[in-house]
Structures are given as C-alpha cells and as structure tokens.
C-alpha cells in the first residue's frame, strides 16, 4: 500500500503494463520528451525509448486511425488524446472505425486499443478544453468507457484496460491529477465493471463517477450533519455499466440522484435517470434528479466555470428538497 497521486498511479500503470507486454506502445502528442501535457508519461521515454513512446505530429485523426491499424496488426497501442475535446477531430476513427470493426467484419478482427484522454473543468481552460464528453462514447456501441475517481482505480482500471480485446476510452479528470490516494499495486484484481459504494447510507442514492465522486462525498458529509444519510456510488466504468449495484441501492433508499459534470441534456445523468426510473419505479418516492452540468459552453472565467457544473451546494439543496 503506497500513497501516490492519480497522475503517478497512471504512469505506474503504463510502466508496469509495458514491462509485462512488449506489444504495448504509447503514442500521442507530446507523450515522449515532453512527458505528456499533464505529465502522465513523464520520463517513460527514458526507459522505453522512442520506439515505444511515439511522439506524433498534431494529427488526431491520423493518430487514432494508426492505432486502429496497429491494433488490427497485432500491437496494443495506448493513444493519448491530449484533451477529450479533441474527439471532434477523430470521432470518425473512434466511432465509425474502432467501435464498429469487430461487428462489421463478423467478429474476425478486434481492435484492442486504449484511448487515454482527460476532460472536465477546474483549470480555467475554456470552452474547447474543459468539456465532459463521455456521453458521446457511451452512446457508441462497441466502445468501453472507464472514468476513475481515485489513484487506486486509475492504476487498476488502466492496467486492466490494456489487457482487453476491445477498444477502451479511458477518461481521466484534469483536476484529479494531483489528488493523492492509497494504491495497492500488488492487488491482482481490477474493479472493472463493478461500481463501488463509496459511502453507505439509508436515505438517498447518489450515483456518480470521476471527479464528481469527491464533490458528492463532500455533499454527503454536509448532509449527514443535517440528518440526511446519503449513499454515494462510484460507477468507475460506464461501459460496462454495473446497474445491479445502483438498482439494489435505490430499491433500499427509495430516492436517487445522478451527479455528472457533463451537460444535462442527453447526458450520462439523463441515461441513468431514465434507467433508474424504469427499473426501480415501484421503489421511488421522488422523481430521479439529474444534477448535471448546465446546457452551456464552459467559460474561461473561473467564476462562470465553477457555476457551470454541479456544486456541493446544489447537491445539498437538491437532496434536502428530495428528502424533506
């Protein structure tokens, strides 16, 4: 058990995976000498060389497309897409190619690649560098999707991602890189496809993932002081989605809210709210709440940026209204 940051845990996962499997290579803009825009691949090039830490030109579609071909050709590429916002430049290669190749070709050819990227707010990075686009991925059959909230999950989910036979989109959160956590690097099993109850509670179920796990836990602590006992579920992977854990919880608490940084309309929160409403209808005391991002672009102003996504206060207010 070691205390480490989310960033260092990710780097350790890449290091350990590359040591274990010679076919893994990391490719992307600035992953080599620069060490990654957020420092995740720092110094890996010293150990693995330019052959396995491929710096690329600024060609997002070409990089992801090349990774698709490399995966079909017997390698296990891990692509770093510097910002999730750049998906727009490469969505054909991800959504039309990587996601559909196995199915279109009748199961003959798989695409075992990992697309690492990061998203979310918190760095005053503006409208084109702060989005939460996980709904795009979740809306595309054929893609796996992991969004870790802690250093331990970052490590284990990434280690597991590079062993999978299908394309994985692995979305880190830019505001979590410096966050510390305890990691058991020796633990063999990854929590893939299994949600985790981060805080047990009796009165309401808060379903969330990525950075919002921490916001939700903070809100839960405040609500506990006011006598409301909140259960917080961290989904960890959105595809596969562990709905069993969510459903079991909601049937017990009778109330549910989904917290997501992504915009409210047609978002992950919308999908989960619909699913909870359908599957847990007979147990619900209140409508399922979507506590999600505003339907607006993210501003560079830190004040407007903060106000664009769910806050502890909004969660507390909403849950008080739902439980009073």
């Amino acid at each position: 058990m070691v205390e480490t940051t989310y960033r260092d845990a990710l780097r350790q996962a890449l290091n350990d995976a590359m040591e274990a499997d010679e076919t893994i290579l990391v490719m992307g803009e600035e992953v080599g000498a620069y060490g990654g825009a957020y420092g995740v691949t720092k110094d890996l090039i010293k150990k693995f060389g330019r052959e396995r830490l491929l710096d690329t030109p600024i060609s997002e579609a070409g990089i992801v497309g090349a990774a698709v071909g490399a995966a079909m050709g017997g390698l296990r590429p891990v692509v770093e897409l510097m910002y999730v916002d750049f998906l727009g430049l490469t969505m054909d290669q991800l959504g039309n190619q990587a996601a559909k190749i196995r199915y279109m070709f009748g199961g003959q050819i798989g695409v075992p690649m990992v697309l690492r990227t990061q998203g979310g707010t918190g760095r005053s990075a503006g409208a084109q560098h702060s989005q939460s686009l996980e709904a795009w991925i979740m809306h595309t059959p054929g893609l796996r999707l992991a969004m870790p909230a802690t250093a331990a999950d970052a490590y284990h989910l990434l280690r597991h991602s590079v062993t999978l036979p299908d394309p994985v989109v692995f979305i880190e959160h830019k505001s979590l890189y410096a966050k510390k956590g305890v990691v058991d690097f020796a633990k063999a099993e990854a929590p893939w496809g299994r949600a985790l109850v981060r805080r047990a509670g009796q009165d309401i179920t808060l379903v969330t993932y990525s950075r919002m796990v921490h916001t939700a836990l903070e809100a839960a602590t405040k609500l506990a002081e006011r006598g409301v006992d909140v259960e917080v579920i961290d989904l960890r992977t959105l595809n596969p989605l562990d709905f069993a854990t969510v459903g079991e919880s909601v049937e017990r608490t009778g109330r549910a809210a989904v917290v997501s940084e992504g915009v409210m309309t047609c978002g992950v929160a919308a999908e989960l709210a619909a699913r909870i409403s359908e599957e847990c209808f007979d147990f619900l005391e209140e409508p399922v709440a979507r506590i999600a991002g505003e339907d607006i672009p993210i501003s560079v102003s830190p004040a407007l940026e903060r106000a664009s996504i769910p806050s502890v206060e909004l969660i507390v207010e909403t849950i008080e209204a739902m439980t009073s």
Binding site: T23, I63, G65, G69, L75, D92, F105, G142
Partner: protein, 343 residues
C-alpha cells in the same frame, strides 16, 4: 489463382484472367442487385478500374495487408477472395465473409490480409499506417496497402496518414484509383491540383502515376514502390482510369456526356490486355473465349450460391459488438419486459 497473382512480373495472361474475373464478377453482382438479391441500398462497381486492382495486387506478397474503399471488389478478388463468399456477403448472407453484417462496403478477411473495406471516404487509409507500424515492430516483412479513390485525395486524413508513414519510415503503400469521379463530381470540379504524385512527394514519399489501361505498367510501377515500401520507404501511386458506369448501380450518370463516356470506355484495361495477348501471340481468341466462358460460369454459380444461402439468424444480431465471452447487449424487448413484468 492467388498464387499466380503473387508472383512479381505476373504474366499478362494471368493479369488478364484476374481482370476478366473482376469484370465478370461486377457484372454478375450488378445482376444480383437488380434482381433484388443483394443487401444494402448501394452497390459500387469497379468496371473500368480492373487494371489498378490487378496491377497493384500483382506487386504484393501473400503476407501483405490492405484496406479498400467503397469500390473495392476488384482489389479483394485480386487478392484471392472466393467469389461465392464475397457475393454472399454482398447479399447479406450468413456464409458471407462477414456473416452478412458488412456487405459490399464493409467486407474484410483477416486470412487474406484484408483489413476492411470502408464506407467513409478515406476512413481506412490510416489503418495501413498502423498495420505498417505493427509489421515493422513485429518484423513481419509485410507491407500494408491502402486503396482509395480520387475523392479521398481531398480528405485531410490522407495527408495525416502519408505524413506519419514518411516520418516513421513505414512499409506502407498508398494507392489512389483515380476513376475521375467522386460520386457525381468530376475531379476537375473537386481540385485544381490533379498531379497527385506531387502531393505525396511534398510529404517525402516515393510517388508515381500510372495509366490504368495498361495493367503491366501499373504492376511495374507498383512493384518499384512496393519494393521501396518493404525497405521502409513509403510510396504513393495514382492509377488513372475511367469509371465506366454510375456511382452506384442505378446511377445513370446524368452529370456527364455520352461523348465523354464513350471516350472513357475506350480506355478499357480488359480489352487492352486481350488485344495485347493476341498481338504478342500469347493466346488465341479461342483460348481467351474459353477462359472467359469458364469465368462466367463461375460467377453465375456465385449468384446461385448466394440466392440459395440463408439469411443470418436473428440470434447473431447481438454477437460481436464486443469480443466472444463478453456479455452481449441486452435486447430492448428484454429490458422493457423486465420493467413491465408486474403490469
């Protein structure tokens, strides 16, 4: 058939046979479409482009990989595809190459190195960069060849891909089958820069242009570029030809004149090879007629094979979204049934 195509400097008679098979396959698959036996609302035929497919594929080795575009039947046949399974796939049948899920524009066969046809213009081009990277890293001595049309010459992904291939010294060959039309838009309405080799040279690839009517010229130029690619010097070849018929089977080409079509169809690679064989005393008319007739019988049999083949079972629908062993997506009916189980 396939072995003959693999030998460098393939004899003209074998190139002719390849091209005749493509022409006859396309004619028959067009009939399949008209008879309502094919799946998919679109069918893109490569009649007139046989020289590009046969010539380039004659310069490839058995271990080489390739991707094609939406008009790629000829390339796949040249690489040894079984016309029965190919036509069955175009007919959306279970015994087709992709179990009926891909069709004409998403056909693939790992065993023959076909990494996939593509219905997105330029979509399969970067895959050969990755396949080339894998070949280089895993020391497979294979090259990867991307086939695409002149329409893709105006797609950004081509330039990202060529740049990466040159930057990383990859065993990759880019082949533009320039049939003069991107759907209904003639090439001079799509770009002012029609000397495509210059674009590749600007990115430091070895590049050439070939006349698609002359399959031997195509083969020789492709061979030089493929040899270079195998040594880590990626290449680009633009093969000029004429798309004899419409964009799709039902397109009557109202956007071009009868005079232009007549002139274009004179650049017939199959007729050219046939006349060359006679001129060089390499085959008699009777021998060629016999060969053509045998090919016609083979392709007619492929139609029968397809029309007798079963549709894929509905149980296959949720298969292959993810790898075998992974849970299949839950059908909507099952989900709804669970929601309203008590109702």
């Amino acid at each position: 058939m396939r072995d003959a195509a693999m030998i460098s400097n393939t004899p003209l008679i074998d190139l002719y046979r390849l091209m005749r098979r493509i022409r006859t396959f396309e004619e028959h698959v067009g009939e399949l479409y008209v008879r309502g036996l094919s799946a998919g609302s679109m069918l893109h035929l490569s009649i007139g482009e046989e020289g590009a497919a046969a010539g380039v594929c004659a310069a490839m080795k058995p271990q080489d990989n390739f991707t094609t575009h939406h008009r790629g039947h000829g390339v796949f046949l040249s690489r040894g595809a079984d016309p029965n399974r190919m036509m069955a796939e175009i007919g959306g049948r279970e015994v087709g190459y992709c179990s009926g899920k891909g069709g004409s524009m998403h056909i693939a066969d790992r065993a023959l190195g076909h990494l996939g046809a593509n219905a997105i213009v330029g979509g399969g081009i970067p895959h050969v960069v990755g396949a080339g990277l894998a070949s280089k890293r895993l020391k497979k001595d294979s090259i990867a060849v991307a086939f695409f049309g002149d329409g893709a010459m105006q797609q950004g992904i081509l330039y990202e891909s060529m740049n990466l291939a040159a930057l990383w010294d990859l065993p990759v060959l880019f082949v533009c089958v320039n049939n003069q039309y991107g759907m209904g838009t003639r090439i001079d309405h799509a770009t002012r820069s029609v000397d495509f080799d210059l674009r590749a040279k600007a990115l430091c690839l070895a590049a050439d242009m070939a006349d698609g009517r002359d399959v031997e010229e195509v083969m020789q130029k492709a061979q030089a570029l493929a040899d270079g690619a195998r040594q880590g010097k990626p290449g680009f070849l633009s093969v000029s030809c004429y798309r004899f018929y419409g964009h799709g089977r039902m397109d009557k080409s109202p956007y071009r004149s009868a005079e232009e079509e007549e002139a274009g169809r004179k650049r017939d690679p199959v007729a050219w090879a046939r006349s060359e064989l006679a001129r060089r005393n390499l085959a008699t008319t009777a021998q060629l007629d016999e060969m053509d007739a045998a090919i016609s019988r083979e392709m007619s049999a492929a139609i029968d094979f397809t029309s007798n083949a079963a549709q894929p079972p509905l149980s296959s629908m949720f298969r292959d979204v993810f790898a075998p062993g992974e849970p299949e997506p839950e059908p909507v009916r099952t989900r709804l049934g669970r929601v309203f189980a008590d109702a």
